[in-house]
């Protein structure tokens, strides 16, 4: 065994240092005032399909070392993948040199101290692989057969990943987080491709994914779509399901940086200076929150920052995260903060957390209940291609997708054409008249970046469908 912990494998091949060994060695090698080391080991497996057949697939492994070196108030960040043991010293030296050459970082703060070591710090990484689909793939094959027999085509994507992050600092922190993530997106189309329906689920391990049930729910929606109703652009009473609410609220969340609010360049800026924290945004007692320990959507309980930016600071690495209300009972309660921005704003340090949960008044019903109590309105399946139009109001535009249904007297009576909408999620909160029960959901637009959400359906009395989209 070499002094860097390199071992010899069964076939005489060199075995890399473990992530924990890499963290320790990198910290040891850094000659500057402080150092933060992150090692991310990721394994993924995926299946992609279209028209009841496989299109692409794959498994992949990656390992990334990020060295954040601190010299005075200067910081240097060097991140390299697949680092071999003999390259480690060069990576650390590059980060040290970058820190010495750097101008002072505005977010410079003492490194976080006093957080106890993660209990599973020393455990080996157990990667995911294609075997995670051993039971799911045949079930999907059965669903293809059922769809084929029923005149449907299935399209979609199944992905599972495990990311293990190891964080060590010269201030003594040794923290680890293992994040399993999984999702299935399932899209069913009629044989002529004119009717389309979508559903998606997030999962930690695919053990809880019932493909047959999901396919059946899509078959039901394709049946709804057999009756076509063309409607013009306009403002409609609209039921937004949890997935659509998640996409809008995630965008609101990403736009809630304290720095931008303080600089007068966001919807959360107070005219004349300061932020809108403390201002009522929603008429109903809506709460938008994050909680690293929330069941089913658990995420990292400490700050992981590979680079500094508007809403993150490398100096905050390891800062413990707890339950945080962003909007509490309808009132803006907190913004995305680093320790630096919190000092500027005089508000509590509330860093970003990798899940988002929305709830309304107690007793919210299911989406079916909300359909049943609708006299006339639109039921949306999901939203797509959401992009910001005006940051002052957080006006965003986007499309409805894979099924907009007309509800009359408590029942779905047919499918409506798609629309382009122009709406602000902030403004929308002030107009929502009903909030359903929260449930885990997969955002359609943003699930590449954000998968852990629990959202309710909401009723909007006057959703702005700006123009008709011919897409089906």
């Amino acid at each position: 065994m070499s002094e860097r912990g390199e071992r010899t494998g069964r076939h005489g091949t060199a075995v890399q240092a473990t992530p924990q060994e890499m963290v320790e060695k990198a910290l040891e090698l850094s000659a500057n005032d402080g150092c933060v080391v992150l090692v991310d080991e990721e394994s993924t497996a995926n299946l992609r399909f279209a028209g009841n057949t496989l299109t692409t697939n794959g498994v992949a492994r990656s390992a990334r070392l990020t060295v954040i070196s601190i010299a005075g108030e200067g910081v240097g960040v060097v991140s390299r993948s697949a680092v071999r043991d003999e390259q480690l010293a060069d990576v650390v030296a590059a980060a040290d040199a970058a820190a010495r050459d750097a101008r002072p970082a505005e977010d410079a703060r003492p490194l976080v101290e006093g957080v106890p070591e993660s209990p599973h710090w020393g455990d080996a990484v157990e990667p995911t692989d294609i075997g995670v689909f051993e039971r799911f793939a045949p079930a999907l094959g059965d669903a293809f057969a059922a769809a084929e027999a029923g005149g449907r085509k299935l399209y979609g994507f199944a992905e599972h990943s495990l990311t293990s992050t190891f964080l060590g600092t010269s201030a003594g922190l040794r923290l680890r987080h293992d994040q399993p993530s999984g999702r299935l997106e399932l899209n069913a189309k009629s044989a002529d491709l004119k009717r389309s329906a979508w559903t998606g689920v997030s999962t930690r391990d695919f053990a809880d994914v019932d493909v047959a049930a999901l396919d059946s729910s899509l078959a039901r929606r394709l049946e709804w779509a057999k009756t076509r109703v063309d409607l013009p652009a306009g403002r409609y009473e609209t039921l937004l399901p949890p997935s659509a609410v998640a996409d809008l609220m995630i965008y609101l969340y990403w736009s809630s940086g304290a720095r931008d609010a303080l600089d007068g360049r966001s919807v959360f800026s107070k005219p004349g200076g300061g932020t809108r924290v403390g201002e009522r945004l929603a008429t109903l007692p809506v709460t938008l929150s994050s909680d690293p320990g929330a069941a089913g959507v658990a995420c990292a309980p400490f700050v992981i920052a590979h680079a500094s930016g508007r809403q993150s600071s490398v100096f905050d690495n390891g800062l413990p995260l707890g339950p945080t209300d962003w909007i509490k009972d309808g009132t803006l309660d907190a913004l995305l903060q680093t320790r630096y921005s919190a000092q500027l704003s005089g508000l509590t340090v509330t860093p970003g957390i990798d899940n988002l949960i929305m709830s309304g008044p107690a007793g919210g019903g299911s989406l079916d209940d909300m359909i049943a109590s609708t006299r006339r309105g639109l039921l949306v399946t999901c939203l797509w291609y959401i992009r910001e139009v005006d940051p002052q109001t957080l006006l965003v535009t986007g499309l409805t997708r894979d099924g907009v249904y007309l509800v009359e007297h408590g029942e779905v009576v047919g499918e409506v054409n798609n629309f382009r909408f122009n709406e602000s999620p902030v403004d929308l909160l002030g107009r929502v008249t009903e909030v359903g029960a929260g449930e885990r959901t997969l955002p359609r637009e943003w699930s590449d970046y954000f998968q852990r959400t629990a959202m309710p359906a909401v009723r909007v009395p006057d959703f702005n469908m700006s123009t008709v989209s011919q897409a089906s």
Binding site: T13, G58, R80, A102, R103, Y155, F157, S308, V389, T397
Partner: protein
């Protein structure tokens, strides 16, 4: 021509490829390819002339793709030993076996001539990674300080990428390639009594080196000097009156409309439904090839992977197909799609036109966009001459917000600035505008395209597609162009205010 970096060539490229391809052959794969990549990226961001974030990262690894029993199998690894590469080949075959129950279309690839031992390097003068980061920060800080004299806040960002690829397949093709690209961008923001607004530089991302920041290919001094006054004019501008207008669209805005409404719409994988559950399909379905009237007769669009400094330009794609240039829309009619080898054979189109790309060693190649560009009119009008032909209209400059539906029909775009056109002349800026149209209506309303002197190669680093998500760089060249009767929205009114 520059040479490929020696430290990339020093990697055990051939040994790993040989080990992987041999193991795939031994396990019965009909086809196998091996791709080793190193992608290095440096990001620098400044806010109000102070360094806000810096990251120097790379992505090194390799992938083995096989066709076994008519089914794809793909696996990626990071350990640079022949034994590990052979193991990754075994994993790829295993993935094909697990996937076989859900594959109903046997995979076959269009033939491609063998390109043995070919080397390609993009056109650039100064490797951005040879320039000290401190020098880059100093330059961006100086530029930011200048803009701060006329703005409340200034953000500056510089992205730089060097991509190195080694590819080998069981047919005998072996390619080694290197390309660089840079994207500097600055944004100035200012508040006024009723809110705030901002303006970004128009300089496009390019397949050039650091020379792009020091006078080659863009006049930074001129653009930065003009920006504060343009922002001040925008802040004082009236809100647009919604309605139908004639538009003269500058290349700095039109490239993105081309990207969304032509580039993606003519990807054959979309037209065939492979992206149906994610990025979407296309109104330009395969049965309309050769017949669909996409636009007016002045519309001629090519796909190209060979143009100098293009972001999608490459010698050979990620299936070993040589880069080419091909027609997509000719005299307004759809005549071609962007292809990879599988789709080219599937649809009887002969040779692939070389549009397979993977953004990292961990991802499987999919069909990605060539540099899709709108041709200028030889001897055609200048931008001023196009404006002179408009009685009541708007001239739109610079890209900003964009959105288009999943079949590429309905789009909405804004821009950095818009000018009222009155009686053939510019009459000051307007605010709160967006244009909204259906793709074929829009392109059929294109009355004229500008001449070659109006042509600019725009583009983006970050075109997203596929699952797992992949980003690709792509350029789009276009002249200024005149469109009649396009719907303009007032975005404040759209927000219900």
């Amino acid at each position: 021509m520059r040479q490929i970096d020696p430290d990339f060539l020093d990697l055990p490229l051939r040994q790993l490829a040989d080990a992987a391809l041999q193991r795939a052959r031994d396990l019965g794969a009909e086809h196998a390819d091996f791709r080793l990549e190193r992608v290095r990226a440096e990001t620098l961001s400044l806010y109000d002339a102070r360094l806000e974030g810096a990251m120097d990262a790379d992505d090194l690894g390799y992938a083995v793709r096989v066709v076994k029993g008519g089914t794809w199998g793909f696996a990626a690894g990071i350990h640079l030993t022949p034994q590990a590469a052979a193991t990754v080949a075994e994993q790829a075959v295993r993935v094909a076996e697990v996937s076989a129950p859900i594959n109903r279309e046997p995979i076959e690839l269009a033939p491609e001539p063998v390109h043995s031992e070919v080397v390609w390097v993009s056109s650039y003068d100064v490797d951005p990674f040879d320039v000290p980061s401190a020098d880059k920060v100093t330059l961006l800080a100086d530029w930011s300080a200048g803009l701060l004299k006329g703005a409340d806040h200034v953000s500056a960002r510089l992205l730089q990428v060097k991509e190195q690829k080694f590819y080998a397949d069981t047919a005998g093709t072996v390619t080694t390639q290197q390309r660089v690209r840079v994207h500097p961008a600055l944004n100035a923001m200012k508040a006024h009594e009723s809110g705030f607004d901002d303006m970004s530089t128009l300089a496009p991302p390019v397949g050039r080196g650091y020379e792009y920041l020091t006078g080659t290919g863009w006049d930074w001094q001129a653009e930065l000097a003009a920006l504060p006054e343009l922002l001040a004019e925008k802040l004082a501008a009236p809100s647009v009156e919604a309605g139908d207008y004639d538009l003269v669209v500058d290349p700095s805005n039109l490239w993105l409309t081309i990207h969304e409404s032509i580039g993606h719409a003519t990807e054959l994988d979309r037209a065939l439904g492979y992206e149906a559950a994610y990025a979407g399909t296309s109104f330009a379905t395969f049965d309309q090839l050769g017949e669909l009237v996409y636009g007016s007769p002045v519309m001629n669009v090519t796909g190209d992977r060979t143009v100098t400094h293009g972001l999608s330009t490459i010698g050979y794609d990620d299936e070993g197909v040589q880069g080419q240039s091909f027609d997509i829309v000719k005299d307004g009619v759809l005549v071609g799609y962007q292809l990879d080898r599988r789709m080219a054979l599937l649809k009887g189109l002969g040779r692939s036109n070389g549009c397979a790309f993977a953004d990292s060693p961990g991802h499987m190649p999919i069909q990605r966009m060539a540099n899709v560009s709108l041709a200028p009119a030889p001897g055609g009008p200048s931008t001023d001459e196009l404006i002179a032909g408009v009685e009541r209209g708007i001239y739109i400059v610079g890209d900003k917000s964009w959105s288009i539906d999943m079949q590429r029909y309905n789009f909405q775009f804004t821009g950095q600035r818009a000018y009222k056109i009155s009686h053939g002349r510019l009459a000051g800026q307007l605010r709160d505008f967006a244009y909204q149209a259906t793709t074929t209506d829009f392109w059929q309303s294109m009355e004229a395209v500008g001449g070659p002197e109006t042509y600019v190669l725009g583009g983006a680093f970050n075109c997203g597609k596929g699952q797992p998500g992949q980003v690709a760089p792509v350029s789009h060249g276009c002249p200024s162009a005149l469109f009649r009767g396009v719907r303009i929205l007032n975005t404040v009114q759209e927000g219900g205010k």
